[in-house]
Point group: C2
Chain length 477, copies 2
């Protein structure tokens, strides 16, 4: 007898005798119909128990959450709702599940409750679907870059550099927390720490990635990054995964082309490979929004929205143009924005980004050529000396999904910028070496992976698209 996955049985084109299938009971109706799920696919296979010839003791143990092994024959179903079902000839309880204690009851749970049970929530339809889509998106990312000759680079997670400049960092240490060794002048003596210096969790692999791009031509990273920022929002995590491609000889235009092509590729890949899961998530979003007032509902359904992104170019707009649009916008004039835009140079807030994307252009937007003052030190200064070759890609409902730039490849300009910021050049000796030896135009970007998953699955809280979210006051599991 052969063991099958539920997916294989549901996709079968003919009856099969003598199948074994193992999984977890989702529901058990009428002492007869098991809805069995093994995670291989969203749907359950119906297993029909011969209840007259099954001991009452066994029937009692077929409860929601129990693990069972079923032997039987795959046959056409007389019932509505499924083409095939398994006529059970033998049933074995592998692991019981106390129906009164199992937290994942066959009913609707709040997302908050499910977050507290992140180790079990993946046994629900919603989280099974989200995690399968996440996995397929990850693979699409690797495939996109590998097919195009990019080299995957694992930049370090523990960094001795504190000049990455993207946010607050977590310290990594093996020193005793209490009474750490001190130097003669009474400071913590990091020389005695594991790495012989102060170390932190990386906020970006970009700087190291650039050194590899300047040798291998095209590289990408895809790994965890960290922010020790006390942001308790639905869009921020303390630990999240980031994709950072970097390409030698690319300028900002080529960088925008790459980012747009890349995003469309991975979304298309998910739409094609995760049809079942996305259809289910599309319906979920629709149901969720039913209870909302019309004005708060999405204009497009999930699948419509994904197809819209695939079929339309992203709108490319300079920061300066965007400021003009915002200055003259109704919410600005009517003082509906929390931050009123009155002059060039202002940093855009989430409300402004959303206005541009959702109200004005009604499509993904690439903003570029930002004021130097509000962007990172490594971005290439334009000839106007005021703006840098930065770009942000803004998505409906998500805001910034990509941030990137052409990098400052001129050693002297970069050194000047570093000095202005008061960063010690010695900290970045190796980064500056890429500008000392064979420097060239290059560009790259970072994509926040969870924001992409959020967009593709139609979930609204970023804690619901990563297996075990890390946020302020929360590192359970």
């Amino acid at each position: 007898m052969k063991t099958y996955k539920v997916k294989d049985l549901l996709n079968s084109t003919k009856p099969i005798d003598d199948v074994i299938v193992k999984g977890w009971v989702r529901t058990f109706r009428n002492n007869q119909f098991i809805a069995l799920n093994d995670g291989s696919i969203l749907h359950n296979i119906q297993c029909v128990v011969d209840f007259e010839n099954t001991p009452a003791e066994t029937l009692k143990r077929i409860t929601t959450g129990a693990a069972v092994a079923v032997k039987g024959n795959l046959a056409e179903s007389q019932g509505a709702g499924q083409k095939y079902e398994v006529k059970v000839t033998e049933l074995q309880i592998l692991g019981d599940s106390d129906a009164e204690k199992f937290p994942m009851q066959p009913k609707k749970h709040s997302l908050e409750f499910l977050r507290e049970n992140a180790h079990l929530r993946v046994r629900t339809n919603v989280f099974g679907a989200v995690m399968r889509v996440r996995s397929v998106l990850s693979f699409a990312i690797h495939q996109y870059f590998q097919e195009r000759g990019f080299v995957y680079v694992n930049t370090p997670i523990i960094t001795g550099s504190d000049a990455e400049g993207a946010g607050e960092m977590f310290r990594v240490t093996a020193l005793p927390a209490q009474n750490p060794p001190l130097t003669e002048d009474g400071k913590v003596d990091y020389k005695q720490d594991f790495f012989g210096k102060e170390t932190n969790l990386t906020v970006s692999g970009q700087l190291e990635g650039e050194t590899f791009a300047m040798a291998l031509g095209q590289i990408y990273t895809f790994g965890p990054t960290f922010r020790a920022e006390n942001s308790n929002t639905s869009r921020h995590l303390a630990e999240f995964w980031m994709v950072e491609p970097e390409v030698a000889f690319n300028d900002l235009d080529a960088n925008m082309d790459l980012a747009e092509d890349f995003i469309q590729y991975v979304i298309k890949y998910a739409v094609e490979r995760c049809a079942d899961d996305l259809k289910f998530l599309d319906q979920r979003l629709f149901d969720e929004e039913k209870s909302k007032p019309q004005a708060e509902r999405s204009e497009l359904g999930l699948l419509e929205k994904l197809n819209f992104v695939l079929e339309n170019n992203f709108k490319r707009v300079s920061y300066t143009e965007a400021i003009d649009i915002l200055k003259n916008s109704k919410p600005n004039k009517n003082k509906k924005f929390s931050y009123i835009i009155d002059e060039w140079g202002a940093d855009l807030q989430s409300e402004h980004e959303r206005y541009l994307v959702e109200k004005h252009f009604k499509c993904p937007v690439i903003l570029f050529d930002y004021p130097a003052k509000i962007k990172a030190f490594y971005m290439r200064l334009n000839d106007d000396k005021k703006t840098v070759r930065a770009m942000d890609i803004l998505f409906p409902g998500i805001g910034e999904i990509v941030g990137g730039s052409e990098r400052e490849e001129r050693l002297d300009v970069l050194q000047e910028k570093i000095a202005e910021l008061g960063i010690d050049e010695k900290e970045l000796w190796w980064y500056l070496d890429t500008r000392r030896f064979g420097t060239a135009t290059h560009a790259g970007f970072g994509l926040g992976f969870e924001r992409l998953v959020l967009f593709v699955t139609g979930m609204t809280n970023i804690r619901d698209v990563i297996p075990f979210p890390r946020t302020p006051q929360n590192a359970e599991f």
Copy 2:
């Protein structure tokens, strides 16, 4: 004019007029021949400069390490060593490289020197090849699992659990290092830390991975893991990447089958896709070993060794059998082992593993059914109550490359084990839930990714197969 990668030009089947190619000068001979590399492939393309019509000022700037853009025609080469070359019509220096200061001179550098220049070493043939092979192996891992319906799971890097039991951990904190807040009884008050509790860097994603396998059926992780162990060896890193598949309903035999099939698949994939790089690394190893005494040289060349692994099954041997073999072995009887094996229950040292693999069986070996006392708490106890369903895969020259087990799925047995070890059950409430609700046989393993890369590339120090190695006293870059 179209821009080409060096790889495309070298693989061209016909001459092409009007090509642009950009890269870094490896060497410049006779004021005429540039060996140009862009990282897309091991080999350089020869670019022939019309030196009579090129300003002397420009010729002087064509130095090792300089970035250049070349326009010209791809034509058949009259010289030996290459089929095609570029007849340069226009040459632009993009970025200079001071020949006297550029550390990567066109000569043999020691691996130690190159480690100190990890940001530049990837511009050498050896490290270019290693990093391309590493990237292709990563992709092979994802492809293997995705093709088989496994779900990729990003288990958390920052963990609040200190019961992973695989080694010393790094602490992650946002508290001030100096004078952290204290509780009333004078201990560090982790309630005031970012996550409201003490947190560490993960040593394994297995426990979280199991919770997902018990919902999605087949999962794998592939991410960084950490050990704060002061091991300054050629086989240990403080930060390394690990692959951890976990499969519901698999027993130890199925686990061994999976591990063997998986390893053979990814090695085969690299052998097929990285022919150039591996041929080069094969020659490198041969050259390296020439200077060694015969007895210390590898019996097989690199490619021979890889093919040997593909063509032969791994030998499966119980721990008990292995102990018998070792007890009766010459080095044991002649007291050549540092640790003499005299009784059942001894933990095997690297010297014993190497004897079994390299001298006795002369092939990869899977050892299984280890004494419970020397293995982790979550491994399934055999009926003999002395051994557990653990397995280690041992590779020639590498030692342990995989460690895995069938997991203890019985709640009561697991609870007893946890109590014996003095672990607080409350710490693992969520892990135990998988045994409370629908428990079932399941199994998985961890593959140390850098050890695989070491094996496939024939490098001998693990610091040379990861972009920026983290080891005691070393977190540069």
